[in-house]
């Protein structure tokens, strides 16, 4: 759900980026082993290489910024996964009262509740439950639904494809629509040109960014299904049924991203290397696409990357508007029915999806901007 939560996130990230730069400098200075040294000449670079060479092979391996990036990123991913898994495990244990009693209702016989508790292992000591949970997860066992008795992995296997389709399509649409739009807007409105266009774009994108996807979805259903009858109102049947859910999910993030692309491109167009590119008398197209865009994109991804992860969770709302047979409708139904093992499994899948998207974003950033691989640490 990008819009409701995003402004603070985006802002925090922007401030963070500034802070990050500051941290980098001090970090590097303190770190000593500095690989982006700026050797003034080969002679000056010598001492640096000799100090690193004096350390054994391991330091040499660490010397490769890409390896260091991979190691650091993998470490962060593992920690995040561990936090996620532990969070999902604790979720059930933090529920006040007896979750099994809550799920089966007050009228359920004591024996049944006790038997279910035993089956779920809830009577074991906590550490053992945790160990079992981890062991089962590794084996692909997500537990069993309290209501249907089906393995949770089967439920997820049934529902995941529909959600993944929706997320991937919306993801692609948001990125593919926002970049050209933001770039074009920046080029058209640079240096105070075309004020009316700028006003229309900024106010339009603010409005679209504020409206959450489920409201966009309702609006789309009203216009395209009820009034115009162009698209089915709900369910997943044929390609036309994808249009509205994907659109509903992508519109908000796309307009925020387009705004960021525009602002970042405007900033980049002020940069001195753009003046250099112009001094080389490159055609405008090349100046914008080869010199401005990659730099604007790195900034955009740094600021807006979290948005794309947010879209994974945004599917929950969109699915519920369109009765989409995916994980989103499953998790809501399961929360209401207190079918905790299913909730646990679906939360895990969503969390992993988010982490995966974040990883893709980070790798894309590293490929686009080689400095970022060395940064941070």
């Amino acid at each position: 759900m990008a819009p409701p939560f995003s402004p603070a996130v985006v802002r925090a990230d922007r401030v963070d980026r500034v802070a990050l730069c500051g941290r980098t400098k001090t970090g590097r200075a303190a770190g000593g082993q500095d690989l982006i040294t700026e050797p003034d000449d080969v002679t000056e670079a010598m001492p640096v290489t000799s100090t690193t060479a004096s350390a054994p092979g391991f330091a040499h391996l660490l010397g490769n910024p890409w390896l260091r990036f991979a190691a650091r990123r993998l470490g962060r991913l593992l920690v995040s996964v561990w936090v996620l898994v532990t969070g999902a495990f604790l979720m059930i244990h933090l529920i006040p009262g007896d979750p099994v009693r809550a799920a089966l209702g007050n009228t359920a016989p004591v024996e049944l509740v006790e038997a279910r508790r035993e089956a779920l292992g809830l009577n074991d000591p906590l550490w053992q439950q945790y160990a079992d949970y981890l062991r089962h997860l590794v084996g692909g066992d997500f537990g069993t639904s309290m209501l249907s008795g089906l393995p949770v992995s089967e439920v997820i296997g049934d529902r995941l494809p529909a959600t993944a389709e929706l997320a991937v399509l919306a993801f692609a649409l948001a990125v593919l629509a926002s970049i050209p739009l933001g770039l074009a807007m920046a080029v058209l409105t640079r240096g105070g040109r075309r004020k009316p266009v700028e006003l229309a774009f900024t106010s339009g994108s603010v409005l679209l960014a504020v409206v959450p996807e489920f409201l966009v979805a309702v609006g789309l259903v009203y216009v395209f299904s009820v009034e115009l009858g162009w698209a089915p109102v709900a369910m997943r049947q044929g390609p036309s049924s994808y249009v509205l859910p994907v659109l509903a999910l992508a519109v908000g993030p796309a307009s925020i991203l387009a705004r960021i692309v525009r602002v970042e491109t405007l900033a980049v167009l002020q940069a001195e290397y753009i003046r250099t590119a112009r001094a080389k008398r490159l055609p405008d197209r090349r100046v914008y696409l080869r010199h401005a865009l990659p730099n604007a994109l790195t900034a955009t991804i740094t600021v807006g990357g979290l948005l794309l992860g947010g879209m994974v969770a945004g599917t929950v709302l969109a699915e519920n508007v369109f009765a989409w047979p995916g994980l989103g409708s499953t998790i809501v139904g399961s929360i209401l029915a207190k079918d905790y093992p299913v909730v646990q499994g679906v939360v895990l899948v969503y969390g992993l999806g988010v982490l995966l998207v974040n990883l893709v974003v980070d790798v894309a950033l590293a490929l686009l901007d080689p400095r970022s691989t060395i940064r941070e640490s």
């Binding site: 802070a19 000056e44 603010v206 409201l215 730099n295 519920n320 508007v321």
Partner: protein, 645 residues
């Protein structure tokens, strides 16, 4: 500006005022609606169940025949109240988590920071859903769920803001003075970050309003018989074919209220300061131009600029009466000079004298809103003012090379250096990728970059400043330049590297008979490289003379003052450094007379009334001064005010 004045300023912008009015209306409705229309909203009318919108029921009725429009109005209170509660929870938890690193010290603090960073990576809705599992469905569960979901983002914002304040001197001073951590936080850090936090809390309130509507819509928020906008929306959606208004009216209410909070926050963010402003106003490309809206009459006393008669035939660059303007301000006011083949000419002057703009104008790199006018502007016999733009790139791209001041920022950071050079050959010489790159390596070698082939594959950040500047010159050598315009090429470099770069420029010039136009505020650099020097003041050339005559033959008082301000080994170090008294002329407020008159020791009334023309002195120089023949005793009073460099 005081804090209160700034917040009042929010109301003066149209968006801010509209948002504030909207927010006021929403809050008023939240208070009054249940009192005024509570009865009508709950009135059951079984005769009119699920009626569509009509004059009687503006948004139709629900499955008990209750009027949906009034229900939406009455639901304002529940929706706003729960959103504010959730925001309060989120802000409180976020503040705690965000300031904890400061209270706990670096080691434990890092742990908290890491935890927050991990939590931030997960979308708010996912967190809200997970917490909703723990707290259970219903309003009392959704408030802490949404609160905790917005807390990480708020914590991170607090952390970054607090860290930036905590690094400042006054906090360090307080620490050294033995002030405790809690006290430092409460007295020094929090007051300094309160405004941006408040702004973000306002926007977070808008966010939680929307989020709450989402949870209620899913059935996880407010439970029947209570109702909020999200719940009404969810009920309305089921009958969207029969009565679209039942879904649209609550939807519009949510959007309006969300917008109200968000826009007030946005407007406040703009007013509060640059911290949260967009990244628009970074460094201007042309730092010599300071366009200000002061309308000024362009000087009507057209100065007859007499072009040099000598060397017109083999002139490489001819500039006559060049003007550069930004709106009403004209920082370059009629500059004229010629440059012969292989000649090296320096332009000196203070910041703001228009020397960089002159160079950019010659290179045709002035961007809108800047405007170039000139009587003549010719390079290699081609009229740059009238050449169709399509024919220009090749001419300028191959025969004119630019070197800019800051080598750190003049290369594209995400492209390999070799590619950036090769691009020129691909674009203008029709080279294919391979040969273009080979030429790039060759040119890097020509500017004495060791290991050129390897270096060509590196990124700019792997080069040192001096190497980058040499690579920049190498980029200019990709074509066959006849003119190199170097705009303060050594200002950002240290002295040894400076010498290497200047020597390289001199070599390039000698090898291929390339002319050099060197912009600098450093007379020493100009003396080292150039044959001739143009002294600029307030957008005009005030003196043009051979470098050999600079030290003892300068005739303009400004040139002499510049020379006097350069310390050398003989300078008495017990005396304060000599500066030129007064301030540089303001391009936004030109005077009718000589622009230097207010600072000139020789100025009289005539100087203040009439601007002297740039006149040839018969010995190869030109000077614009009514008192050029007068040579006062060089006794520039050592003034301590002013900002000469």
């Amino acid at each position: 500006m005081t804090s209160r004045a700034r917040w009042a300023g929010v109301l003066r912008t149209p968006v801010g005022a509209a948002a504030a009015v909207l927010l006021g209306a929403v809050l008023l409705l939240a208070v009054l609606a249940p009192l005024l229309w509570g009865g009508r909203a709950d009135e059951v009318d079984t005769a009119h169940i699920l009626a569509p919108a009509s004059a009687e029921h503006w948004a139709g009725t629900d499955n008990l025949g209750r009027d949906i429009f009034f229900r939406v109005l009455v639901a304002t209170r529940t929706s706003v109240r729960l959103a504010l509660l959730a925001t309060a929870v989120g802000v409180a938890v976020g503040l705690l988590l965000g300031t904890l690193p400061l209270l706990l010290g670096p080691r434990l603090g890092r742990l908290v920071t890491a935890a927050v960073n991990i939590a931030v990576a997960f979308p708010g809705l996912l967190l809200a859903l997970s917490f909703a599992v723990i707290f259970g469905a219903g309003a009392s569960g959704a408030v802490p769920a949404i609160g905790l979901a917005i807390a990480p983002a708020f914590a991170r914002l607090t952390q970054t803001l607090a860290a930036s304040v905590a690094g400042r001197d006054f906090v360090a001073a307080a620490r050294i003075a033995g002030v405790g951590r809690v006290r430092v936080l409460l007295r020094h850090v929090l007051p300094n970050i309160a405004e941006p936090l408040l702004v973000n809390a306002t926007m977070a309130a808008g966010g939680s309003l929307l989020a709450f509507a989402g949870l209620s819509f899913l059935g996880l928020g407010v439970q029947a018989p209570d109702y909020d906008w999200g719940r009404l929306l969810g009920e309305g959606l089921n009958g969207i074919y029969l009565n679209p208004a039942a879904a649209l009216v609550p939807g519009v209410a949510v959007v309006l209220a969300g917008l109200a909070f968000n826009l007030v926050g946005e407007a406040a963010a703009k007013a509060v300061g640059p911290r949260t402003a967009t990244a628009g106003g970074r460094k201007r490309a042309t730092d010599d131009a300071r366009p200000t809206p002061t309308p000024t009459p362009t000087p009507t006393t057209a100065v007859p600029v007499r072009p040099q008669q000598s060397a017109q035939a083999d002139a490489l660059l001819i500039v006559e009466d060049l003007k550069v303007s930004f709106g009403p301000v004209t920082p370059v006011r009629g500059v004229g000079f010629t440059l012969g083949r292989g000649e090296a000419v320096g332009i000196v002057g203070e910041s703001g004298s228009g020397k960089s703009l002159t160079a950019l104008a010659v290179a045709q790199l002035i961007e809108r809103p800047g405007r170039i006018e000139a009587r003549r502007l010719e390079l290699l016999g081609d009229d740059l003012l009238r050449t169709p733009p399509r024919a220009r790139p090749r001419l300028l791209g191959t025969s004119l090379a630019m070197v800019f001041q800051d080598p750190m920022t003049s290369f594209n950071p995400v492209q390999r250096v070799g590619r950036q050079l090769a691009e020129v050959a691909e674009q203008h010489l029709g080279h294919r990728r391979g040969p273009a790159l080979a030429r790039a390596v060759d040119r890097l070698r020509a500017v004495r970059i060791p290991g050129a082939a390897r270096r060509a594959r590196q990124f700019p950040h792997e080069f040192s400043g001096g190497m980058r500047q040499r690579a920049m010159i190498g980029m200019g050598l990709m074509g066959e330049p006849k003119l190199i315009i170097a705009d303060e090429p050594t200002t950002a470099l240290d002295v040894t590297v400076q010498r290497q770069v200047l020597a390289l420029l001199a070599d390039v010039r000698a090898a291929d008979d390339v002319a050099v136009l060197l912009i600098s505020h450093d007379l020493g650099v100009v003396e080292q490289v150039c044959d001739r020097v143009l002294v600029m003041y307030a957008g005009r050339i005030v003196e043009d003379l051979p470098v050999a005559r600079l030290r003892d033959g300068a005739r303009h008082p400004y040139t002499r003052a510049l020379l006097g301000a350069v310390p050398d080994l003989a300078t008495d170090r017990d005396q304060p450094l000599v500066v030129i008294p007064g301030r540089p002329a303001d391009p936004a407020a030109p005077t009718p007379g000589c622009a230097f008159a207010p600072r000139c020791p020789l100025a009289d009334d005539h100087c203040k009334r009439a601007d002297p023309a740039l006149i040839e002195d018969g010995s190869g120089g030109r000077v614009a001064c009514w008192h050029a023949e007068q040579r006062p005793e060089p006794a520039p009073a050592a003034a301590t005010e002013g900002e000469g460099r």
